[in-house]
């Protein structure tokens, strides 16, 4: 079956714009807040948001890091193949900062659980918030809820939500597949 487009390019722009203003509402000029994207697609989303924030507040210094959670996952040895890790790049101190974790899709909450653990290896932040582009409601396996939501969707387990970030942003979209789609 053809996938359903949940968010198209124009909607995505609006959503990123709104999320950026929501972040500014809570964190002013980001004096003690930092962005942390989860590898791989959370990082792309975080970059888009940072770009928008810089357009709105050219003076502000916004720290953005990428976090890989592979070694903190709870499904090691429960998969056929081990997952390939991505790089983690955090060139700032998160101790006593407000960390905004950013990911593309929130589903069971297990990735975020692993992300919290991975982040704590770098220090003790004063607070953590969660920003997601797509929140798949009613499918949580852990008590984790986002602070900022791009769009909430109702979906069933057999469906897959896929975020496609194009290189030049012109083909950005979020799709909902009905058939089984192999996890990338």
């Amino acid at each position: 079956m053809k996938p359903v487009t949940l968010i198209d390019k124009n909607q995505l722009e609006l959503i990123i714009n709104r999320l950026a203003y929501q972040l500014i509402e809570n964190h002013d000029e980001f004096a003690d807040a930092v962005l942390l994207g989860l590898q791989p697609r959370g990082v792309v989303l975080a970059e888009r948001i940072k770009y928008r924030l810089k357009q709105i507040m050219p003076e502000a210094e916004i720290h953005l890091g990428s976090l890989d959670i592979t070694f903190f996952r709870d499904d090691f040895r429960r998969r056929d193949e081990p997952l390939k890790a991505n790089s983690t790049e955090i060139d700032f101190i998160i101790e006593d900062k407000k960390v905004i974790l950013i990911d593309d899709v929130l589903y069971t909450g297990r990735t975020i659980r692993a992300g919290l653990d991975a982040m704590l290896s770098y220090g003790r932040p004063s607070g953590v918030e969660l920003l997601v582009l797509v929140d798949r409601r009613f499918s949580r396996e852990l008590p984790i809820e986002p602070t900022y939501i791009g769009k909430s969707v109702d979906s069933i387990d057999s469906q897959r939500v896929k975020v496609d970030f194009a290189k030049n942003t012109s083909n950005d979209r979020v799709l909902l597949f009905n058939t089984e789609l192999a996890d990338e």
């Binding site: 592979t70 070694f71 040895r77 429960r78 390939k84 790089s87 653990d117």
Partner: protein, 314 residues
């Protein structure tokens, strides 16, 4: 591809180039992990690893133990000196006894070549060879080539000379395999008595003059003269005296300065300062000896992580 083609790490000879690349890329991730404020990840928290060292070792044992602990594995240690081996128990019995205590993975060093391969055929567990006699020492070769790759970008096409006691060295054999699989050219250099017969069958060049070898190479890996294997039970001397060996095969700073190029100096440790290499060279900017040690932990984490992911849960 994200899993190894082998179930055990017995030697470099069994690995494919893709395996080696996978280990390197995973090690790169772990190198970042061990530079974090908190250097521990929970990946192997439900795995128990036994370190069986039937032969003395300081840094390999320490490096493996650190790698295991940073992956959150449970670790039991065993050294032959204080064990039932001295009471005449066989290797299979010793290991099976340890395995009955629910151990998932065995890291073993043993004085007999092939001990790890023998064990892997007779015991139902994952084996990592941490050195078997004069045969192989795979993790050392992996960390050596990984360190080189970090220093030089790529090892393909590079010329590497391994200097010293090739005959008794498991590091040399593993390095030859690993370097060749990654596309490097290899030469061995040492006195005729310390170069094994027929080594040219492995496609390596042989040279007995250190200065000529240095002029040829981009990298010199200086092996330790294994004083404990000189003389020995049959009282065979491989060279007249240490002083004579040093005169012929000891690497000094003036030798490096004579060359009209920069070469990289490696040493697997422990160093006999003033024998195979002078202090000036070991501590100079040519040397990547301490990088090798740092990379050792990352490489061993990568190997354990990749092998452990294939262990079945029960």
């Amino acid at each position: 591809m994200s899993s190894l083609s082998v179930k055990h790490l017995l030697g470099i000879a069994d690995l494919t180039q893709e395996d080696i690349r996978l280990i390197f890329s995973t090690a790169l991730n772990f190198k970042e992990v061990i530079n974090r404020p908190i250097k521990k990840v929970p990946s192997l928290r439900d795995i128990t690893i036994a370190n069986l060292f039937f032969e003395n070792s300081t840094r390999t044992k320490l490096s493996f133990e650190l790698a295991e602990k940073r992956l959150s594995a449970d670790v039991v240690n065993f050294s032959s000196g204080s064990s039932s081996v001295s009471k005449g128990e066989t290797l299979i019995d010793t290991v099976n006894n340890i395995l009955s205590m629910k151990v998932d993975l065995v890291v073993m060093r043993h004085p007999n070549p092939g001990a790890a391969a023998f064990l892997s055929r007779n015991v139902d567990t994952t084996i990592v060879n941490a050195g078997d006699g004069t045969h192989e020492h795979p993790t050392q070769a992996l960390l050596d080539v990984f360190s080189l790759q970090q220093k030089l970008g790529d090892v393909a096409g590079k010329k590497v000379v391994i200097v010293g006691d090739i005959k008794h060295s498991r590091v040399a054999l593993s390095n030859i395999y690993c370097l060749q699989k990654m596309g490097a050219e290899v030469m061995v250099c040492g006195p005729t008595t310390l170069i094994p017969k027929h080594i040219e069958k492995l496609n390596v060049k042989v040279e007995h003059n250190l200065q000529k070898a240095l002029e040829w190479c981009d990298v010199a890996n200086m092996l330790r003269i294994q004083l404990e294997r000189q003389g020995g039970e049959h009282d065979v001397k491989f060279f007249p005296s240490l002083r004579e060996y040093t005169l012929q095969y000891g690497l000094t700073l003036p030798m490096l300065e004579q060359l009209n190029k920069e070469i990289v100096i490696m040493h697997p440790g422990p160093i006999n300062r003033g024998v195979e290499i002078t202090s000036e060279v070991a501590d100079s900017s040519h040397s990547i000896i301490l990088e090798q040690v740092e990379n050792g932990v990352a490489i061993r984490m990568a190997v354990l992580y990749l092998l452990a992911s294939a262990i079945e849960r029960n």
